[in-house]
Structure formats: C-alpha cells, structure tokens
C-alpha cells in the first residue's frame, strides 16, 4: 500500500472524511519545501541590545525606533510588532543577582502552513519555496482576518493610512535571501543569538545545544512542530508562557480547524435544496390529503343528506298519497251519507 493510500485511510478512520478526501486529491503528503530556510533565535544569548530592531527598520525603509539603543525604559512594557517596527525585543525577566535578564525577539514566525494564508479571501499570502511567507498588497481588501487569526500576534495593519493601508510584517528579508545574503537582523546581531540557515540544519543545531547544555534550556525547540511548525525556531531558558509564547500547541496546522468545517459546505449544497424541496412536497401532500379528506367528508355528507331527503320525499309522497286516498274515501263516505241525509230535508222543504 502506498503511503498516500495509507494516509487516506487514516484520514477516514479519524472521522474527517472530507479532509481525507482533500489529502487523497493531492495524492501525497507534503512536508514542506525541501531545503527551505529558517532562523534560529537562541534567546539565552540575547542581551536586549535591539540591534535587530534598528537593522530591520533600516532594511524595510522605516524610520529608526523612537527609543535609542541604551534606553532601558522601553522594556517596562511588553511590545508587539507594529506598522512602525516589524520586530521587537522584549524583556521577560529583570537581572537578579547572578541570574541574567531574559529577552526574546518577536516577529512573524513564517509558518509552514500559515493561518494568515488560509484565511485570506483573496489569497494575498504565499508560502515561498525558500521559506518566507509573502504578502501581496495589490489584492488586499483590508478585512484583517489574517491579523485577527495569527496565533503569534505577528501581523500589523496601517490604520492611519486612509488610501492604501497594508498588512505589514517581517518578510524574512526575502529580497536579501534571494540574493544569497542573510536577513538583516541575523547580520546585525552582535552575540550570535540569531542564526540563519536551512531549517533542517537549524533544528539539528538547536537539539545539539539542548543536549550539550541541558541546564541552560528547556527541552523544547519552539517552532519545530507547533501548529505544523514555523521557519523561525526559538530556544528558551524559561517555560514558554513566561517568555510570551503559547504553550502546548498541537502539531496539527491551525488552518485544518477551519478547513474541516468548510469542507462540509459542498455536501450541504448537495443535500439541502432537495431536502427542503422534500419538506415542501411533504407539507403540500399533507395539505392535499387533508383537503381531499375534507372534500370526501363533504361529499359523503351531501350524499347522505340527499338520500335522507329522497327518503323523506318518498315518505312524504306516500303519506300524501295515503292522505289523498283517505280524503277521497272520506269525501266519498260523506257524499254517500249526505245523499241519504239530504232526502229527509228535501222532504221537509217539500212539506213546508
């Protein structure tokens, strides 16, 4: 049995018939473009210098971040990517005694199966074979479903632009990596906390670091499998939720949750018009049957009434006949007695 066939049967067995069919249609499992790039952010090496922020703004032609590099006040609040800066470094723990401060860089993770791409109703997002997820502002309608759905809060919107607002985010410096160069943040990082390379190699590097320094890291490479995996991989020294990352994410890609439901629509489209027409026919039939019953009742009533009437008429005729006969009889009798009775009167008159 070919793997695709096994996958198909597994899909059906899992109860998601439609999703299984979709996979069977594709006829093979897709584990992502081979040799695609990624970035490894080792947050234990990050010193919070925000050089990556400055490099990012420069390469994306944004004004430099408002707060200068030395400004420590910026860390008092946890920030997210905005339309003024596509990447941010946050501090999650202050330095205490010999425990160093904990920082983590945040930006678009470039998912293997990006939710932003699946929810876009004009297909504005593309997962490139090189790894970056790209966005096409030329078709964007501005519904912001992508911003709403992104599990990492990595997308920003240009709310202040009335004419050509765009969704903006890290592009993994796609133009630079196309030219064979590193993304700007990786080159700007003075401590080597950001490393660019092939994603599969970076996973090996990350695993190796955890193996070598188990006390330094939690045993987890964030982005390896979370929601189907991401291009950015993150190593952390604290539990995920303490550095602002979602924990216990499933392996299944996020888009699947919606796809399973939406795949029902064609089936509903196939069944419902007929089903409702059936209901209508059923209602009509009941109405027709009750109408017929009603009419039948009326007819029966009429027939019975007619029969009754006829019976009455016959009876009445019979009675009339009898009455007539009796009357004639009586008349005859009276007539007979009158002739006998009349005679003496005549005689009386005659005598007077």
């Amino acid at each position: 049995m070919s793997p695709s066939r096994r996958d198909f049967i597994k899909g059906v067995a899992a109860g998601s018939l439609a999703a299984g069919m979709a996979r069977a249609g594709a006829n093979k499992r897709f584990d992502g473009y081979p040799g695609r790039f990624g970035l490894l952010h080792d947050s234990t090496l990050c010193v919070g210098c925000r050089s990556c922020e400055f490099a990012c703004n420069e390469v994306n032609q944004l004004p430099p971040p408002a707060a200068p590099i030395a400004d420590q006040k910026i860390f008092e609040k946890v920030r997210g990517p905005t339309d003024k800066g596509y990447t941010v470094v946050n501090r999650y723990r202050k330095a205490q005694g010999n425990k160093p401060a904990v920082y983590r860089k945040h930006q678009c993770m470039h998912c293997n199966e990006p939710c932003c791409a699946s929810v876009c109703f004009v297909n504005a997002f593309t997962k490139t074979p090189e790894g970056p997820v790209l966005y096409d502002p030329n078709v964007c309608v501005g519904c912001r479903y992508c911003v709403f759905a992104c599990p990492y809060y990595a997308l920003a919107y240009e709310y202040d632009d009335p004419a050509t607002p765009r969704v903006v985010r890290c592009t993994m410096c796609y133009p630079l990596i196309k030219k064979g160069r590193n993304p700007a943040c990786a080159d700007a990082c003075p401590t080597g906390a950001i490393r660019f390379g092939k994603r599969e190699d970076l996973i090996k590097v990350a695993r190796e670091r955890i193996r070598k320094y188990p006390e330094r890291y939690i045993n987890y490479v964030f982005g390896e499998h979370d929601y189907g995996g991401t291009s950015w991989l993150t190593l952390v020294g604290l539990p995920l939720e303490q550095v602002g990352l979602p924990s216990e994410l499933p392996y299944e890609p996020l888009p699947d949750l919606t796809t399973h439901f939406l795949s029902l629509a064609p089936i509903v489209a196939a069944i419902f018009p007929g089903l409702l027409a059936g209901f209508y026919a059923f209602t009509k039939r009941r109405e027709a049957v009750s109408e017929q019953k009603h009419r039948q009742q009326l007819d029966d009533e009429k027939t019975r009434a007619l029969a009754e009437l006829e019976q009455k008429l016959i009876e009445a005729a019979r009675l009339a006949e009898r009455d007539k006969e009796r009357a004639v009889e009586r008349a005859r009798r009276i007539a007979g007695s009158q002739t006998t009775e009349l005679k003496p009167t005549e005689k009386k008159e005659d005598s007077q």
């Binding site: 309608v141 501005g142 919107y157």
Partner: protein, 387 residues
Amino acid sequence: MIAPAENRGGLFTPFNIITGLILVFGGAIVVLRFAYGLGYATNLTHTTTWGLWTGFKLVFVALAASGYALTTAVYIFGMHEYHPLVRPAVLSGFMGYTLFVLILIFDLGRAWRIYYPFLVRPGVTSALFEIALCVALYYTTQFVELTPVGFEWLGWKRWRKVVVGVTVGLTVFGLFLSMLHQSTLGALFLSVPGKLHPLWYSPYIPLHFFISSAVGGISMVILVGLICKRVWGHKMEISREKLDQLTIGLGKGGAIALAIYFAVKVVDISLANKWHYLATGWGAWYLVEVLGFVLLPCLLFAYGHREKLPRLIRFTALLTVLGVILNRLNVSIVAYNWKFAIEQRYFPYWMEYVVVIFLITLGVVVFRWVAQRMPLLYDHPSYKGSH
C-alpha cells in the same frame, strides 16, 4: 431632507428631527473615517483588529434571521396563519443585511476592492470567502423576495406574478444560504483557539451561531410584529387578538429553539470538560449569558405559551434579542484576547459607537419609509388573497 415627510404633522416632527440629527452627525463621522483612515475613527490595535464594528456585523446578521425563519415556517412548513408577518419579517431581515454590508464597507481597509474575492483572486479556503459569497447571494434573494411589495405599489402586475410564482424556490435557496453563512460566521472563530476564552471557543461554534440565529430571528419577528401594530395599527390588517395568537405561537418556537441552544451549550461544556472554568470570573460572565439570556427566556417563552401571555412573550423576545447581541459581542470582543491585561485590552472609541447608532437609526428610518408607503402590512386591494 433625509428623514421622510410624515402624513400627519409635517416635516419637523420630533421623530424626524432626532433621527435627522443622528444621521447627519453619524454621516459626518463616516466621512472622517474615510478621509483619515481607520485609526482616526477607531481604537483598533495590531492585537485586536476586529472591534465593535465586527461585533455588530455578527449581530446584524444574526438578528436578520427573521427573514429565513418566517419564510421557511410559512412557505415550506405550511404555517399559513403567519403569512401577515412575512413581509415585515423579510424587510427587517433585509435591513439587517443592509446594515451588515454598510458596516463592512466602513470597516474594510480598502472597501472599493470589495469585489476582489469574486473577480480578481478568489481565496476559497477562507471562511470569509464563503460568507461573502453566501451573503451576496442571500442579499439578492431577499431583495427579490421583497420586490412584490414594490411592484404592487407601482402597479406592475406582470412582474409581481413572476416573482410570486417562484416564492418557494426563493425560500429554499434563502434557507440553504442562511444555514451556510450563519454557521460560517461562527467558523471565523475556529482559527483562534488560543485567543478566545475556552468557554466561548468550541469546535461546534458554527452550530452555536446557526441555532442562536434562529433564536434571534424568531424573537425579531415577535418584536417587529409588535412595533408594526403599535405604530401602524390602522394599516395592519390583522387584529390585535390575532397578533396575540401568533405571538403566543411564536413563543413556542422560541422556547424550542432556545431549549436546543441551551442543550448544545451544556453538551459543549461537558464534551470538552470545561466545568472548572465556571468557577472563575469569566465563568460568572458566561453563566450570566447562558442562564440569564438563554435558559431564562426559554422557560419564560414556554410559560408564556402555556398560560397564553402575549405580553410576557414580547418581553422575553426582547430579552432574547439582547442575549444574542451579548453572545456575539462576547465572542468577538469580550472573550477575545482574554489573557490580556486590562491596559492591553481594546475598548471601542466613541466614534465607533456613534457609527453603530447611526446605522441602526438608518435601518429604522428606511423600514418606516417603506412601511408608510408600500403594501407591507396589508394585502394590496388589487391582489387580495392571491399569495
């Protein structure tokens, strides 16, 4: 003047002055929103990009279910005694979708590209694509369902006959489209399991949305019937007693729909074993919604039906409509990003509220304009008993 002339009392009635002011002021804010961008008129952030306007998109569509709820009952299931309420119910549904389309246009970053999903590059994996397609088709369907009202007014007998002839087809098409997009509006939230509070997030949320739309639709029919009788009693053909009877009947429908909705909610909490969340502050708020605005109206509808209390049923319909509004706002705003600290949370800007009030006023004014002129509440004398 935007507000219509009254038959009695001239142009400057209190109603016209108040609605006129709201429409002018709200219209000005809409102009400002397009002139200066979404950031000027809203408090939307990069983390909460769907706010009050999106919340009311869901509300408008859910309460616009009055159209499919009543046409299905009358034309598919043969409950002909409700026929006098069909036209007001379909018009109020049509107005709901009109408000939805308008607030969508205000909320879209580049509304002038609204046809892109159909003509430029369809993104068929998106729940929003299905919603866009179904709403576009259903909006058209409802418009066609309403054209006989206009044709009777204009005296276009032949056109009227054509449309009335396909009533059942339109009803079937409308119900099918409604089932799809009412549930798919819930499916929008399937992709945010980490952001929406577990009490409101459910893999069955599309089903929750569909059932609660039926609940909202039935309640809206009750309220629209009442308002029409109150305001245009002299035009409304059916008597107060007859309307009370229909209201009592609708109360039964409401009780059944709410009972199903409540059962689905309980099953949802049980299946995912979310009981422990009920003991939290979020749980208390969830219980307010589900006990106060689902279970309570369900019992009140049932009681009102059994004891034949039309006034109680009308009050319960209002409670239910508020419950549907509460649910949609809870899902889209209150319980979204529930892990955020208070200073990170989104609170609507005053202009966002003004635009919502502006739109609701617009809906009322248009409904009133039609009801005063066209044969909405009575059979047109020339077509009596012919539909």
